[in-house]
């Protein structure tokens, strides 16, 4: 099993450009998440999904859009990149169990630089 796979791993954008980060998981998890990690700020939740076809806002959603058309994929889009979006982005997934809070499985991260 590959677990959670993120592509691309590195990307450099110019201000105003758009791009999409792809996250794929092969664990049949219901829940998926996008976090960003910045020095001194820790991991902050951008958007998340509790199932195929559903998305919801997290703590810092502005400037991002997401889609979950297939259960195994969760896409994060930047329509008009800004330097403030320079960060490391992590995708995560977890299973759904009402009796037991699940751990999050993280990808290796995507490092985005916006010039």
């Amino acid at each position: 099993n590959a677990g959670v796979t993120q592509t691309p791993k590195f990307r450099v954008l110019k201000t105003g450009q758009s791009m999409t980060l792809l996250c794929a998981q092969d664990m049949n998890h219901e829940y998926m998440y996008w976090y960003r990690q910045d020095p001194g700020m820790g991991l902050r939740l951008i958007h998340y999904s509790v199932g195929e076809g559903t998305t919801a806002k997290g703590e810092v959603p502005d400037g991002y859009n997401v889609s979950r058309l297939k259960k195994q994929n969760f896409l994060l889009g930047l329509e008009s990149a800004a330097p403030s979006q320079t960060s490391v982005y992590f995708c995560a997934s977890s299973y759904r169990d009402s009796r037991w809070p699940g751990e999050l499985f993280f990808g290796e991260g995507s490092r985005l630089t916006v010039l």
């Binding site: 998440y33 820790g42 991991l43 992590f90 809070p101 499985f105 990808g107 290796e108």
Partner: protein
């Protein structure tokens, strides 16, 4: 608002000693708390989960305590090794379903020979 605090200063200890990391939180009454390990350039990896009704949880050389009165969790690594050097994150659930977590900024641990 909910807040998680971890010591931002790196913790340097000698091999073989016990490392103790602290996670404090305010404005929370979490049902559980999780600890993750993160190596440079990698994603966080889950280590342990402790529920509010559990005082202590152990896994091999790891031990976590959870004091809901003090609003604090302590993370211990006994007989530490250089391979334990990493950043350790604590995480608490966010209300609203979806198994969402909010993370502390992490404490970097360095185990020296």
């Amino acid at each position: 608002s909910q807040k998680i605090e971890q010591n931002s200063e790196a913790l340097n200890i000698q091999e073989g000693k016990t490392a103790t990391l602290t996670c404090n939180y305010t404005n929370y009454s979490p049902a559980y708390l999780q600890w993750y390990r993160q190596d440079p350039g990698r994603g966080p990896v889950f280590l342990l989960l402790i529920r509010e009704n559990e005082k202590e949880k152990r896994k091999e050389r790891l031990k976590v305590t959870f004091d809901t009165t003090l609003k604090q969790s302590l993370f211990h690594i006994t007989a530490s090794q250089p391979a334990d050097s990493a950043t350790y994150l604590c995480a608490l659930p966010v209300t609203g379903g979806g198994n969402k977590l909010t993370f502390g900024t992490g404490t970097q641990l360095k185990v020296e020979l």
